[in-house]
Amino acid sequence: MPTPRPELLIEMQRRMWRVRAFDERAVELRHAREIHGPVHPSIGQEAACVGACMALREDDTLTGNHRSHGHPIAKGSELGPLMAELLGKATGVCGGMGGSMHLADFSVGSLGETGIVGAGIPIAVGAGLSARVRGTDQICIAFFGDGASNHGTFHESLNLAAIWKLPVLFFCENNGYAATTSLARATSVEDVAERAAGYRMPGVVVDGQDAVAVYEVTAEAAARARAGEGPSLLEAKTYRYLEHAEGEGIPGFYRDAAEIERWRQRDPLEIHRQLLLDRNLLDAAGADRIEREARAEVDAALAFARESAEPEPRAAFDVVFANSGGSGT
């Protein structure tokens, strides 16, 4: 298994803290109604998106879903334009056209997150086909939830990528629930990864709270895809601590506090911190500094977002078409 180098192990902790600090702040801002529209936090799921993205190359691409902040942050996006997007500002990464569910940052290969469950999966397969036709060895990773694995697009996409052996990683962040519906209630299999068998590709279950484990299985699948051996389905078992979408008044009837507490005992940032300490890559002060720096980055991103101007009304009309003719009327 390809094991991450020491600098990479430290960078993983930095990126996980960025995701956590960014999302904690986003949730506060949502409750304060400074952010409009739903916010789906990745808190508790940081190791899945960071472990996976750190195993990719800079020029690899990704598609994601409504739980959208973690993926571009994990892939290396700057926080300022992401936070400005959440606030609907002109300097937002999407100019205020996307918002929390729809971050896209082409500068780091993030082709876009989508509010339509399952819709990003075939787009990733197309990006894989494109890499193949263009003769590059890029791969594309599709992030989606356990709920999305019941969507037709998931099944069509796995079959398409399998018959054409495309360089695609299907990465399921299985947090146990699709909104309020548990996996058991909605899914014919216990492990989403079992579904890989129907499409004759590797299906791998990994501990989604362990960033290194996620890194290792992703790196292995990426190498396979890059070598022309086809796609893989990876399933990270993880958990979201907070509500499906914060600030929307979704009732919490569907799970009990003890379950949440059990998962909090396996916090991905704590697990990885311990690993860094055990391997003497950082001392406690160094580990604390990573958290402080991430929080400072988020503060700076928020200051930038708040200082930024609102978009001009014309902005919505200017991005409809790339070629002239028939812009929004």
């Binding site: 819709a119 494109s130 036709v133 263009r134 079959n159 991005v319 078409f321 028939g326």
Partner: protein, 322 residues
């Protein structure tokens, strides 16, 4: 000027595809049952340019979006327009919206070829003419050729355009022959074609209604009614100037559109005239459309529904006499 010769509408479409694939290595084809093409003139492009897909319309239409986002120019052969409903999400939510939603970061240069099969007893689930749905879906361009030359030229432009284009090909016209330029002959978007000049009534016609409209105009000329026949060719963008200029000259407008009546292309063009040329109108606008019923199977029932030479001529007479 390059040479012209006669081609059928269907041949013109293949010519455009082959020319564009030869010109630009980033152009690929995706669709169901297209592997047979590799036996013909497409063979030279090799297997990496031609993806004969399983019956997974939302899957491969979504793939085309991903391929377009990352540097290819896919042409998706969606075969039958009624299948578009199966692929609605990648078309409307993804292809049409991603450029806007990403603040202009994304470019989606994909072409979706959609066949119109009405008029052949395929019944309601194969006979749709759903282009008005996509006029009402911002971010998609909508082209709809009525002649072999336009079938070739609009497809060439669609491939070169950096935006997603839905091109509706009227299979009733597949064997129609007409002059087509050899070599490159792209037709610009947003430029209507004035098929026939006239001074009494403006007759805007779409897809196979153009053929009916031209035949009606011949009949009407013999009766002393001078009809100007205009095909918008692209519904998005719409050549408002040419349409409104003609209506201002004639003061009368008939729109012949094979789509259903409610919220159809004809409704939009009629509203445009009412809003922008009200002062020039000397008669109510008339629409000749398909009634709002699921298309029946029996030829006895189906054949009466679409804009016909007779129906169009009657509408023009009513408007001219008003």
């Amino acid at each position: 000027m390059s040479e012209t010769r006669e081609l059928s509408y269907a041949e013109a479409i293949h010519e455009a595809q082959i020319l564009e694939m030869g010109r630009d290595a980033s152009v690929i084809l995706i669709g169901e049952d297209i592997h047979g093409l590799t036996l013909g003139p497409y063979a030279e492009f090799g297997p990496e340019r031609l993806w004969s897909a399983p019956i997974s319309e939302s899957g491969f239409t979504g793939m085309a979006v991903g391929a377009a986002l990352t540097g290819l120019r896919p042409i998706v052969d969606l075969l039958i327009s009624s299948l578009l409903y199966v692929a609605m999400d990648p078309l409307v939510n993804q292809a049409g919206k991603l450029r806007a939603m990403t603040g202009g970061q994304a470019k989606v240069p994909a072409v979706f070829r959609c066949g119109l099969w009405h008029g052949s007893s395929y019944a309601a689930q194969h006979s749709d003419r759903p282009y008005p749905l996509f006029m009402n879906s911002p971010g998609l361009k909508v082209a709809i050729p009525a002649t072999p030359a336009d079938a070739k030229g609009l497809l060439q432009t669609a491939v070169r355009d950096d935006d997603p284009v839905m091109i509706f090909e009227d299979r009733n016209l597949a064997h129609e022959r007409g002059p087509v330029c050899e070599g490159d002959a792209p037709v610009p978007f947003g430029q209507a074609r004035v098929h026939r000049e006239g001074s009494d009534v403006t007759l805007v016609a779409i897809a196979s209604a153009v053929r009916e409209a031209l035949a009606a105009a011949d009949d009407l000329a013999r009766e002393g009614i001078s009809v100007e026949v205009i095909d918008p060719r692209t519904l998005v963008p719409l050549d408002r100037e040419t349409l409104l200029g003609s209506v201002r000259r004639t003061g009368r407008l008939v729109v012949a559109d094979p789509a259903h009546r409610t919220c159809g292309a004809a409704a939009e063009i009629a509203a445009l005239a009412a809003e922008e040329a009200f002062d020039a109108l000397r008669a109510p606008v008339a629409r000749v459309t398909t009634p709002d019923v699921p298309i029946p199977f029996s030829p006895a029932l189906e054949s009466k529904l679409y804009p016909s030479q007779q129906g169009i001529a009657d509408a023009v007479r009513r408007v001219a006499r008003y």
